[in-house]
């Protein structure tokens, strides 16, 4: 058993592009769930429309990449408005089901044959981010030590990803210190109280949905750039559940909660994957019990178990404040 390899695999994922994508997604969710108390379970829908913006503009219509990114973000704004206008008046549990349904509808439409001329259906779109990699100032080569190294392209996307995470976190920090942020938190604590003070609760909720949705879309775009590919089925509801796990692990309602949560989450997930693969490889786990292709499923099962334990025993996460997380369906 090579523990240094396990550690290296975990550390690589913890600073890698998946961690930045989920940090961005969770920062968006944090605006929704952590600060405004919106139970948005269709977050992956924002990532989907964001990621498809540049993919469609570049791969299908040959447009410039920056326009695609703008269109992706605009799609997220439109989605937030279309989703929020009818549903934000609903109670939290209804909102959760409606948003997850909306995200599934989006995924089904994007993957349908009907939308094939635009989205290329289940096959998705590839090779659209060349312009992004052409911008890279990093000379070709390998950077880092041993297992913990990135190619020049990998390093570029990771650096951009973390820069975006830092920017988003800074934005959330500034906004939540402002009077606007205080109103958002008061809506989370007691909607009726905020309303009785003359605040337009619906408007604030909608603004929160738009802001968080755009940050989520940025996460989707980073993921699409990193893979140079988008397929509708990789934007399934489980992505949202992972983002919630990341958020709750780090601590909802904290600016750095999602960032720390993502780093720890991916360290644990990738480390466990690596550990299991080694354990199977060395025969520590009998092959009859678990085979290498099933490691992916174990990962999901463990995330589920982790989410349950976290929510039951430490709903405020590792760094959250219990007083900020006195949640109840209202």
């Amino acid at each position: 058993m090579d523990f240094s390899a396990i550690f290296a695999d975990g550390a690589r994922a913890a600073v890698g592009v998946e961690a930045t994508v989920y940090a961005l997604a969770a920062i968006g969710l944090n605006v929704h769930f952590g600060y405004t108390g919106l139970l948005n379970f269709g977050h992956v829908g924002f990532m989907l429309v964001g990621a498809y913006g540049p993919a469609i503009v570049v791969a299908q219509y040959g447009g410039p990449l920056w326009l695609g990114v703008l269109i992706g973000l605009a799609c997220a704004v439109v989605l937030a408005l279309v989703l929020g206008l009818p549903t934000l008046r609903l109670r939290a549990d209804y909102l959760a089901i409606t948003t997850i349904a909306a995200a599934e509808i989006l995924r089904l439409i994007y993957r349908s044959n009907y939308a094939r001329p635009v989205t290329n259906g289940v096959f998705g779109l590839q090779q659209f981010a060349d312009a992004f990699y052409a911008l890279s100032p990093i000379p070709p080569g390998s950077y880092g030590l041993g297992r913990l190294s990135f190619s020049a392209r990998g390093l570029w996307i990771v650096l951009v990803g973390w820069a975006l995470v830092a920017l988003s976190a800074l934005l959330v920090f500034a906004l939540m210190r402002s009077p606007w942020g205080r109103v958002q938190r008061s809506i989370r604590e007691d909607e009726d109280a905020a309303r009785s003070l003359g605040k337009n609760v619906f408007g604030y909720k909608l603004q929160s949905l738009v802001l968080g949705g755009v940050v989520g879309a940025v996460g989707g775009i980073v993921l699409a750039f990193a893979n140079q590919a988008v397929t509708p089925d990789s934007y399934n509801p489980v992505v949202t559940f992972f983002a919630y796990t990341v958020l709750i692990l780090g601590g909802a309602g904290r600016v750095l909660g999602p960032v720390v949560g993502s780093v720890i989450f991916w360290f644990l997930v990738a480390g466990t994957d690596s550990f299991l693969r080694q354990a199977i490889g060395t025969g520590l786990v009998p092959p009859g019990l678990l085979a290498a292709p099933e490691v992916g499923a174990v990962r999901f099962a463990l995330v589920g178990l982790g989410l349950m334990l976290l929510m039951a025993f430490r709903p405020e996460g590792l760094f959250g404040d219990r007083r900020e997380m006195l949640l109840d369906a209202r």
Binding site: A101, F241, A301
Partner: protein, 424 residues
């Protein structure tokens, strides 16, 4: 040394494939062929099929006693295949009225391509549309009753404990896979499906009881918030679903019994006996649950707790006991729905999760927390999903069902049978 051997073998294999492939291509000329069968599956004789390329006729054949026609081709390329509708016998017509000519049928080198002309009963198009709608309506009812059976538990659990149980879909999958284990798995006892299903339903009830006693009740007594419990149920769903994936595998599998059946023609609708039995049994079960809720003591207690938990408790109802009964009933019904769904479609590790959103749609459509609402709403969801395929692509069927959910939430958020209350 071993590596070298492997590489050599791989090379040899590749070369033999190439050689074999080209030899085959030379041996076999390209043909287009097909078998014409009518709606009852009987071969249709004496129908002329013409094959043309770039407007000029390449060949023509008349279907023989087995309904088979075959036209040899001059080479690979794109062909136009036309069925002469004049030569079709009385009472037989193309199922797709515009399908007599198939354009751009691509034939690869050496390919013997099969062309299908789906035939049905002839006649004008109006009754055909009605017949198609009738068929889809029956399919919709079939899907709807299965959703209804599974959704009752979801709705009752919400009614009595206010928990949105995201892991309810996994109870459905568990039911289907338990029955598979008893019925068709190599490791199981290979029981006939009916006793296997009965066992699985009983086990479903046990799982429901276990979840309530082992997980949800301790959480309730600890005072865990409802949103926390909702997220816990999502974690549970992820955990159970992927445990099932590890144990059951990712392949879709059928039961050992009642798989291949000849469809019965009931008026305008074709239905296999299996599907018919599933529909009838589902209605019987739904009726039974309705009677249970309306007439029995425990059913009344369930409705009372769902209506107002505190009032029910103060009038002497043992609420925890009722909740346990609800979980047993919900688990057993979910397992039954899973067996039915696995029977009419196929068993997969994520079938319950795929049904879950439809269940939610049905439950909310009918009014959260009421069992009868869940039944009506689920039937509607099934009908909408299937009937949408008459005009829209099949792959968007679930999208339509979910769209109905959103529309209902906008117009009548309390659902069709729900009591108006503040939900915003």
């Amino acid at each position: 040394m071993r590596r070298l051997l492997k590489a050599l073998l791989a090379g040899l294999f590749a070369v033999s494939l190439l050689l074999g492939g080209s030899a085959l291509a030379q041996e076999l000329a390209e043909t287009l062929r097909g078998t014409l069968r009518d709606a009852a599956g009987e071969p249709v004789e004496g129908v002329a099929v013409t094959v043309a390329r770039d407007g000029s006729q390449v060949g023509r054949d008349i279907s023989d006693g087995q309904g088979v026609w075959e036209v040899a081709l001059p080479g690979p390329g794109d062909y136009t295949v036309t069925l002469d509708e004049e030569t079709l016998p009385e009472g037989v017509g193309l199922r797709n009225p515009d399908g007599a000519t198939l354009d751009a049928v691509t034939v690869r080198p050496g390919q013997q391509r099969t062309v299908i002309f789906p035939l049905g009963e002839g006649g004008s198009s109006a009754p055909r549309v009605l017949r198609q709608l009738a068929q889809l309506a029956v399919e919709g009812v079939k899907l709807g009753v299965i959703i209804a059976i599974t959704a009752i538990g979801l709705s009752l659990v919400f009614g009595t404990t206010r928990l949105i149980n995201f892991a309810h879909g996994e109870l459905v999958t568990l039911g289907a896979t338990f029955a598979f284990l008893f019925n068709a798995s190599a490791a199981g006892p290979r029981l006939q499906l009916i006793p296997a299903a009965a066992l699985s339903v009983a086990l479903g009830g046990v799982v429901g009881a276990g979840l309530d006693r082992g997980l949800w009740r301790p959480l309730r007594t600890r005072g865990t918030g409802l949103i926390q419990m909702f997220i816990i149920s999502i974690g549970l769903s992820l955990l159970l679903r992927h445990l099932i994936l590890i144990l059951f595998g990712s392949r879709a599998r059928p039961y050992a019994d009642y798989t291949l059946q000849q469809a019965l023609q009931l008026g305008p609708v074709a239905l296999t006996p299996r599907d018919l039995v599933v529909i009838v049994l589902s209605f019987v079960v739904l009726g039974g649950v309705g009677l249970l809720l309306q007439r029995t003591r425990v059913g009344k207690a369930m409705r009372a707790v769902a209506d107002n938990r505190d009032l029910a408790e103060s009038s002497g109802i043992d609420v925890e006991r009722v909740v346990l009964t609800v979980w047993i009933l919900g688990g057993a019904l979910a397992a039954l729905g899973g067996v039915f769904f696995g029977l009419v479609e196929v068993i997969t590790w994520d079938m319950g999760f795929n049904l879950l959103l439809l269940m939610f749609a049905g439950v909310i459509l009918g009014g959260l927390g009421t069992a009868f609402g869940a039944m009506v709403g689920s039937l509607l969801v099934g009908l909408v999903a299937q009937l949408s395929t008459a005009y829209f692509p099949v792959e968007l069927r679930n999208a339509w069902a979910l769209a109905v959910l959103i529309v209902v939430l906008l117009l009548r958020p309390q659902g069709i049978l729900g009591q108006p209350q503040r939900i915003g």
